[in-house]
Symmetry: C2
């Protein structure tokens, strides 16, 4: 596979582990040696593999973990690192994510996940004519 | 300067251009050839230098552009690419950002900015004993 396809496959594996609530698969996806971080929606950043994996074990083991799917994944590859932007679909809500990967031991492994709310509904409401509403309509940058 | 210091300097230059509403300085910070993207708070992703810079010209030229400062910047460098996590301070609100950089023509240039709301106040409210509230307290992942 080409790099872009490999990175998209790693991104898909992340959402498959998430949807399956498979903490072992999730742990295997994250980098072993490269420094990792994670920003869950609305929360402070977590730094380091131990803190990040503990958060995932808690999320995947909890009763509130919703089914999740991913769409519109777009990979940007720069040598041995890459990021993917995608839309996360959870019942009744959409989130937007940035997922960063590095090549480690020949595999693309996750080093950062940042997910946040996505105001597509709000944007549509503001200007139904505008296909790609710009951030200038927002109250912040 | 070492790579981490250079990346943190590039990140600081981004917020300096933002605070000064300097669209030319902002344009100079973004990569010329590497693919770029940007996720402003709550909005759909922008892809490509033209769309990203147009959004910044609109934001920096608008009357609603607030003063901004950055704190707690933490750089993760992987060869010729890097990302920074930091807290953005705008009056009455804090945001969390992931900024991705690549080395292009010997300079660290931005390829991605993802900013989103940061619920420190909410987290404190949920459990004032807990210094680092975990995402498991949230309603989403």
């Amino acid at each position: 596979m080409q790099d872009v396809e490999q990175v998209l496959a790693a991104n898909a594996a992340f959402y498959a582990a998430f949807a399956a609530k498979d903490a072992d698969a999730m742990a295997a996806l994250w980098a072993r040696r490269a420094a990792v971080a994670c920003i869950h929606p609305g929360w402070h950043p977590l730094r380091g593999r131990d803190a990040v994996l503990a958060s995932w074990r808690s999320i995947l083991g909890g009763p509130g973990s919703p089914p999740i799917t991913c769409s519109d994944a777009d990979a940007h590859v720069y040598g041995d690192s890459a990021f993917v932007i995608c839309i996360e679909h959870i019942p009744a809500v959409e989130l937007i994510a940035t997922n960063v990967f590095v090549r480690e031991d020949g595999a693309w492994r996750m080093v950062h996940h940042h997910a946040s709310s996505f105001a597509r509904a709000v944007a549509m409401e503001r200007d139904p004519e505008e296909e790609e509403p710009g951030p200038e309509s927002g109250t912040l940058h």
